[in-house]
């Protein structure tokens, strides 16, 4: 374990409280993904929004450039695959992902 992110016990907030609201936004859970990412085939997508509804990490958001479609968020997606299982048209599938591409452009954007 690297000591990056460690801090002195003297500098912790009282009771190890988190005193900055919303700091979990910075928590890069996308780093948990291992070697593959979900990719949507927009030809097959029927814009039902189930990926958006069912993603436990809210990684799908409305695409402002293409109404009805959803963008995928590489920063938070843990790669659980729920969107792939739940897509009624099998429009989402795994794509091999290299470690250096983990934080590449989100699908469809």
């Amino acid at each position: 374990m690297a000591d990056s992110g460690m801090q002195s016990w003297k500098s912790l907030a009282l009771g190890c409280a988190m005193t900055e609201p919303g700091s979990s936004k910075r928590f890069n859970t996308g780093d948990w993904r291992s070697r593959r990412r979900p990719v949507t085939d927009r030809e097959a997508c029927i814009k039902c929004g189930r990926c958006y509804i069912l993603c436990p990490d809210m990684c799908y958001s409305a695409d402002p450039k293409a109404e009805g479609f959803y963008n995928w968020d590489s920063f938070y997606c843990k790669g659980c695959g729920i969107c792939i299982v739940e897509c009624p048209k099998d429009a989402i599938s795994w794509q091999e992902e290299k470690e250096e591409d983990k934080y590449g452009p989100a699908c469809g954007s």
Partner: protein
């Protein structure tokens, strides 16, 4: 000035919480603590105490509610015993980890089984490592005084830790004693209103009870340990302040006739008073015995203890809880570890006594001292013994 009244010790404990003007009480009744929370619920229901009484469905919830109310900035009190304390177990650690100044009276009672409602220290000894300040009262006055002082100590910004005030079940809780009841104005002068350092507040949001990844868990624990260790001097300061305000002085280790004593009894809780009478009798017979009483159990006042036993040749250590499979009882384990660190090879005997409400008499103390002295003069090792077991 206050007045001297005859009062059941449980009620004195409730009155202390009332005098401290608590905001929230979350508690579940359990023998022998029942009268404490029963009286508090009456005080709230009758409008004599402006507080929320949360009648929870279990002790697990009682402590959880206390964590919530204390986190929201409310002065919080609860009380429990035995199985109830055991049921609080996992939340007790959270209360100290979140640095919440909850005050809890523990009416010490044995743990099942067999089912026993009677007094010993098994309940609190099983919660020894919860990171709370833990101390013991020996009589009704001390219960009132130390409960009041507990709020002052817990809420001090140098401390911010929960405090458990231990009082022996039945032996104290159900006995009517003369109690010096202070005036509200005196208490107010000693104990200002609670000003939390941080609290759950939607205007200034914070999160409490976060996940501690391996990179931070050890440091979080160290911070709590440091607070507990440093609470020692604050406890002393506020006990001294209590003496100035109310005229009654409390010390981490109390001594009785230790001067010139070869043999010292070590007791904790109400048993100390029986032991004092036994010491008087033995002294009258010319035996060089004395007594030290551990009032402050956590943090353990190591230097005070060493100073109190200076010159003694042997210690007769009373444990009111079993530590099954261990070398000795929990108190003796603590003391032997300390003595080893200090390079002291003083002779230590250890007796597990008074389990599940078994009476401990003055004669018992005399016999334990005799047994210790005989073993010591014969140069014999003496193992931890469950005293008075019927063979």
């Amino acid at each position: 000035m206050g007045q001297r009244v005859g009062l059941e010790v449980s009620l004195a404990c409730s009155e202390a919480a009332k005098l401290a003007n608590v905001d929230v009480i979350a508690a579940y009744p359990i023998t022998p603590q029942t009268h404490i929370v029963e009286h508090l619920s009456e005080l709230v229901a009758d409008g004599d105490l402006d507080a929320e009484f949360v009648p929870v469905e279990s002790e697990h919830t009682a402590m959880s509610a206390c964590v919530g109310s204390s986190a929201a900035g409310a002065r919080t009190f609860t009380s429990t015993a035995s199985q109830g304390l055991a049921l609080m177990h996992e939340i007790l650690f959270i209360a100290s980890a979140l640095r919440l100044p909850i005050v809890m009276a523990v009416a010490n009672r044995s743990l099942s089984g067999p089912i026993s409602i009677w007094n010993d220290h098994s309940d609190i000894m099983a919660e020894r490592d919860i990171g709370w300040i833990q101390y013991f009262a020996e009589n009704g006055q001390e219960v009132l005084d130390l409960t009041l002082a507990a709020f002052k100590i817990a809420e001090d910004k140098r401390v911010l830790l929960p405090v458990a005030v231990n009082l022996d079940g039945f032996v104290l809780t159900h006995v009517i004693e003369p109690i010096e009841m202070p005036d509200q104005s005196e208490v107010d002068a000693y104990l200002p209103s609670f000003e939390p350092q941080q609290k759950l507040d939607i205007a200034h949001p914070i999160s409490m009870g976060m996940v501690g990844m391996p990179e931070v868990y050890t440091e979080a624990k160290k911070a709590c340990l440091d607070a507990l260790e440093k609470s020692y001097s604050v406890i002393r300061e506020h006990w001294d302040g209590f003496a100035k305000q109310f005229g009654r002085q409390y010390k981490p280790i109390e001594s009785y006739k230790t001067e010139g004593a070869d043999v010292l009894f070590v007791t904790m809780g109400s048993l100390g008073e029986t032991c004092m009478t036994a010491v008087d009798e033995m002294r009258a017979q010319g035996l060089k015995v004395g007594q030290v009483r551990i009032r402050m159990w956590r943090p353990f006042p190591a230097d005070d203890f060493m100073a109190a036993i200076k010159g003694a040749k042997s210690l007769v250590v009373m444990d009111r809880a079993l530590q099954p499979g261990a070398v000795s009882g929990p108190v003796a384990t603590e003391l032997k570890s300390l003595l080893y660190d200090k390079g002291q090879s003083i002779f230590v005997s250890n007796f597990v006594i008074g389990l599940g409400g078994r009476d401990v008499t003055r004669a018992d103390f005399a016999n334990m001292a005799k047994k210790t002295m005989e073993a010591q003069s014969a140069g014999k090792e003496i193992a931890c013994e469950m005293w008075g077991v019927k063979e």
